[in-house]
Structure formats: C-alpha cells, structure tokens
C-alpha cells in the first residue's frame, strides 16, 4: 500500500485542480459567443425579452460578482439551477451520472477483456502474421468514428439480428449489461485498440526480461508465469494509460451516448454547451474534475500496489 501521507497529499492535490478548473471554466464559458438567454429564447424573443431573461439569470451582473457567487455556492454544495432543464444542477447530474459511469466502466472492462488476451497473443508471436492481423483489426477501432462503428453495430446486431435492443438503457444491473453492450462495445473498440498497443509493447519487453526467464527456469506453470510475472509487470505502465482512458471516457462518451440514446452526462454536456447553460456546464465540469481526480488517484494506488518501487513517501 502507498503511504498514508502520500494518499493525503494526493487527496489535497484535488483542491488546486478544482480551483484551476473553476476559474478556467467560469471564464471560458463566458467567453463563448451567445449566452443562455439567446440560446434559450432561440430566435423568437425580442431584444427586451432577452435582456429580461439575462436579468433573471443574473447574467447582467459584473463577472467578479458572478464568480464570487459561483465559488460561494459551489463550496456550499449548490451548483445552481440548470437553465435548460429548469432543475437543480446537482439533481440533474446525479440523475445521469450513474449511467455514464456504468457505461465507462463497462466499456473499460470489455476493452480489457478484448485487448488483454489478444495483446498476449500478439506479443508472444511478435512480428508474425497473427501479430500483424491482430494489430490491423484493432486499428479499425482507432480509425473509424464511433458514430459509424456504432451505427454498423446497431444495424447489424440490433436491428437486423435483433440480439440487442436499439439504444436506450435498462433497469437493473443485468438488464443494463444487456442494453449497454453495443455502446460499451463501440467505445471499447477504441479503448482496446489503445490498450492493445501499449500492452503488447510492454509484454514484449517483459517477456524478454531476465526475471521471466528465471521464473521459467523455476518450472512454474505457464499460467503463473504469465499472470504473476508477465502480466503484472506489463500492467504497470498500462494502468496509467487505462486511467487516462477512463478519465477521457467520462467526458468522452458524448457521441456514443447520442448514437445509442443513453441519457448520460456526456450528452448532457454537449446539450449544455449548445444551450450555453452556464450552471450546468460548470457543474458538469466540476463533476468531471472530481471523477478524473478520483480515477487518477485510483490508478496511482493500483500502480503502487503493483509496483513497490513506486511507493514513495
């Protein structure tokens, strides 16, 4: 286990990240052309009406005042009301977050299960035809837009073969597994392509390492060698990447969520941006900041669990 002071330090580090994100997002959101009033009233409202809306939203106040209010409210846990959804931001986010987290984790698990064994195969047969074929196939995941892959999956597996429902999500864990398999798969194809490449490279290196040869010389079973000695060592660097990808996924599932009609935070963010829903954008960003920090913290912990050399005070 990493030292407790390290964990504490890591936790404290979330605070500056948070502040940084808060300032940036606040300013940036207000730099965007168009504002919630315009986005909301779309074209139909008169200028006077737009002004009225602006006033109602407190957007006519000076920026510093708005920022202070934002920070004060955030500290007390009040993220404001979504302009677009006319509901408290916290409520809206908590409503949608589980789905996205579920999808992200699901796809990561799928990606790992897809990439892991094949990376092994490719690494063991490095530079063989098998290796090249595996890499080529996974390259598709890296090259085709999710909306295309998603659509193909939906058309073939859902609409035509009727194995899975077209979009949406289910109720309960198992039902969700069934509903979300296609979106998770289409994200996983992408993630797994990245993981595969990285894992394959680390595996090639580790397979050659003296300690693996030494383990072989001990007459250990292949399973133990591969899991305990090879995989574990190869994972150390892959975990970082996995963490980065999960961090990315949290905000990066928006296209998937749109294509597969999943009401998650990714899509919500997209909608919020297009509606210039300041409170919602801010709230979502802060949520992502927390999630990403937690994921990074977890990857650090996992990494130091894997690699004792990283357990620095």
């Amino acid at each position: 286990m990493p030292s407790i002071s390290y964990l504490l330090a890591r936790l404290l580090q979330i605070i500056p990240t948070f502040l940084l994100v808060m300032v940036f997002i606040f300013l940036l959101v207000r730099m965007l052309p168009g504002d919630p009033a315009i986005a909301m009233a779309e074209a139909k409202a008169t200028d006077a009406q737009v002004e009225q809306i602006r006033h109602n939203l407190g957007l006519d106040r000076p920026l510093p005042v708005q920022f202070v209010i934002f920070v004060k409210n955030t500290v007390t846990g009040d993220l404001g009301r979504s302009i677009m959804l006319k509901a408290p931001v916290t409520e809206v986010i908590l409503d949608r977050l589980p789905t996205t987290i579920f999808l992200a984790l699901y796809s990561v698990v799928l990606a790992v299960f897809l990439a892991g064994p094949l990376a092994f195969l490719a690494a063991v047969r490095v530079n063989s035809a098998t290796d090249v074929v595996i890499r080529s196939v996974f390259q598709i995941g890296l090259s085709m837009p999710v909306f295309y892959i998603g659509l193909v999956l939906l058309t073939v597996l859902a609409a035509q073969l009727r194995w899975f429902p077209v979009g949406g999500y289910g109720t309960g864990f198992l039902d969700n597994l069934h509903h979300l398999i296609l979106p998770a798969l289409s994200v996983a194809l992408y993630t797994s392509a990245i993981i595969l490449r990285n894992l394959r490279a680390s595996l090639i290196e580790v397979l050659d390492a003296d300690y693996v040869q030494f383990a072989r010389s001990k007459g250990l079973s292949t399973r133990i060698i591969m899991t305990r000695h090879v995989l574990r060592n190869a994972l150390v660097s892959t975990v970082t990447l996995l963490g980065l990808s999960i961090g990315n996924l949290m905000s990066g599932t928006l296209v998937t969520e749109t294509v597969f009609a999943i009401p998650g935070v990714g899509r919500l963010m997209l909608e919020a941006i297009f509606a210039r829903d300041y409170p919602l954008i801010q709230g979502l960003t802060l949520t992502f900041a927390v999630l990403v920090s937690v994921v990074f913290l977890l990857t650090d912990i996992v990494q130091s669990l894997l690699d004792p050399r990283l357990r620095k005070a």
């Binding site: 390492a209 003296d210 300690y211 693996v212 040869q213 030494f214 383990a215 072989r216 010389s217 001990k218 007459g219 250990l220 079973s221 292949t222 133990i224 305990r228 000695h229 574990r232 060592n233 150390v236 894997l306 690699d307 004792p308 050399r309």
Partner: protein, 350 residues
C-alpha cells in the same frame, strides 16, 4: 602431483559406486538470428556431469557459457534454436515440449542466473518468489513454506531472514539479491544446479560461505553442479572438473588440477597466465592479445586461431578434434605441444 583432498575422497567414491552420469550433452548447438546468417552461440558442445560432481565452466566473456546453461533448461527458446541432445538421466531434454520441460525445471534442474539485478521480479516480494518455487515443486503448506523460505535465506547468509521475506528486491543490495537467487534455486533440492556466476557480486567471506553450501549439498545430497565463473580461485577451491569455452566451443575439459596446473589449450594457458600471481605488484599482467571474435564471423576451423600464438595454417580451416591427453583430460587443439612449449618458454623468460 598430489591430488586435492576433496578430490581424493571423491575419487574413492567414484571407484566404489561407479558414479552415475546424470547429464550428458551431445553436440549441443544453439543459434540465434536468421537461419541464413545464424549467430551460433553454442557450437557442438559435448560433455557430461556426474551426480555429486561440480563442473566448472570458464571462458571468455561472451563465449556462450550462459547460453549453454540456458539451453539445457530450454529457456533460450523460442528465439534461440537448440540442436543436439541434452540427455538428462537418459531423457533428451532438447526433444521435450514446454510442458514436459516444466516438470524438470526447478524440481530436478535449477538455475542461478547471472544478473542478480534483473533476474528477480521487481514487483514481487522475495518471500513470494521463493515460495512459489516451493508451491510448484513441494507439497508444503503455507506455514511450512514460510519456514523453509526463512531457512533458505538463512542458509545463504541473509541476516534477519524472517523479517526480510516481505521485502522487495530493490530493498536488497546487489550481493544480497544474488544470494536470494541462490536460495530460490536451492529451494526444491534440485539434482542438478546450473550456477551462472553465482558469486560475482559477493565479497570473499560470503562467497566462501555460499560455495561451501553448494559443495556440501553436492557432497551430501549428490547434487550435480555446473558452475560458471571467472574466478580461477573459485574454480580451484570448488570444482571437481573444469571445462573451458571459447567462441561457443569447448576447448579443454579435465579435472580441476589437470586444467589449472596442466592446461594444454593455448586459450586456457593464456587465461591462467592472466591471473595476478607471483608477479610484482603494479607490473603489467599477461593478457591474451587481440580482441574476442564476433560469434557470427568465426573461422570454420579453430575459434581461437586468430589470437593464437601457435596457430598454423590448418587451424583456420580445420576444426581441431577433442583428443584425450590424460584420464578425464581432453583438449581440442592442433598444436597443443607447441602451445605448452610456447607458454613454458614465456614463463621461463619472465
């Protein structure tokens, strides 16, 4: 010449029990790289090891000592190609598949790797790395394994053994890691120990202790040992027989006293000459002239011919056969008499 005391005893045993040959290499050849332009790391090596015998393997750095040991255990595959026969108690290891080899590795034949720094898995505790051996090859339960692991670390002289089981390799010094490896190799009481420079990182007192340990295991349990080392002192003190390698080939085999006191091959002679003994301090030492050859550009004949002071024209093209020059003593050289004369002359001149 007086036989060494140890050898004396052993010699007696030999006569009585007809020592059993446990390992026999026949024309072992290990190559790397492409089939068209192979790098032959081990080239047509044959020797045998008896139970309870310690065979020293010396030779130039890069001459294929480690690869020979690895070939025996089949851990140069799949990149290295092993040909010839490796007869372990009559079974040809070279023909066995991975699964069958696994039953031999660790349990019957154990190996100590050369690089103590990189041969231990940095992510696993030392205790685990010892006990996984015990899991694989013994029926001990967790508690017994712990006890055995502690005992092993103790045996190789790691202080505070019990407390160090939970430590990771990077928390040990180089010498300690080497000892950990030795402990791992000895964990399951192998019948053959392949020890690749097991004491390079150790100071002489610990080295002494380790070598004693190996010797006693060999003597008491009949464990055969192939000991690779650069230290002729270690050879002299520990080994029963010695094989000298050069350029992937064997050039001389004999009992320890035969090779150390009565070497015939020019390379072995040169090597022995290089040891600082009976020379005035801070004067130049003898060293074999020239640079070691590239393994993929060896002459078809004798590998040493390019650096050999007594090489003749045939040496380049004709591989010298192994010739018996005494009981147990064989040499592969076309000009071994000239060589002897040459080095004696030099010695005399000094």
């Amino acid at each position: 010449m007086r036989l060494p005391t140890c050898f004396d005893q052993r010699g007696a045993e030999m006569v009585n029990d007809k020592p059993e040959t446990v390992l026999e290499l026949r024309h072992l050849r290990t190559e790397f790289g492409s089939r068209e332009y192979p790098l032959v790391a081990v080239d047509d090596i044959s020797f045998e090891v008896n139970a309870g015998e310690i065979l020293g393997l010396v030779g130039e750095s890069g001459s294929g000592k480690s690869i020979t040991l690895r070939s025996i255990l089949g851990i140069v595959r799949p990149r290295g190609r092993v040909a010839g026969e490796i007869l372990w108690k009559g079974r040809d290891l070279a023909a066995l598949d991975e699964a069958a080899l696994r039953k031999v590795r660790g349990r019957e034949i154990a190996m100590i790797f050369q690089e103590p720094m990189s041969s231990l898995n940095p992510l696993l505790t030392v205790g685990l790395q010892i006990s996984e051996n015990l899991v694989a090859h013994t029926g001990l339960d967790a508690k017994a394994r712990r006890a055995r692991a502690t005992e092993l670390l103790d045996m190789v002289g790691i202080p505070g053994a019990r407390d160090r089981l939970g430590d990771y390799p990077h928390e040990f010094s180089g010498g300690m890691r080497q000892r950990v490896m030795i402990a791992i190799a000895l964990a399951s009481n192998p019948q053959l120990l392949l020890a690749d420079e097991p004491t390079t990182a150790l100071d002489v007192t610990i080295q002494d202790q380790i070598l004693r340990l190996i010797q006693s295991l060999s003597r008491d349990l009949g464990m055969a040992v192939i000991l690779v080392t650069h230290d002729m002192g270690v050879v002299a003190q520990t080994c029963d027989r010695v094989a000298v390698m050069y350029g992937g080939r064997l050039c001389e085999v004999g009992t320890t006293s035969q090779v150390i006191a009565d070497a015939r091959h020019p390379y072995a002679l040169g090597l022995l000459r290089s040891i600082p003994r009976d020379v005035a301090p801070r004067t130049p030492l003898y060293s074999i002239p020239g640079a070691p050859p590239a393994l993929n550009a060896l002459p078809p004949g004798c590998a040493f011919s390019a650096r050999c002071p007594v090489a003749g024209p045939e040496c380049l093209d004709l591989r010298p056969p192994f010739e018996t020059v005494g009981q147990f003593h064989k040499v592969a050289c076309h000009h071994r008499f000239e060589a002897l004369a040459h080095f004696n002359q030099q010695e005399a001149a000094q």
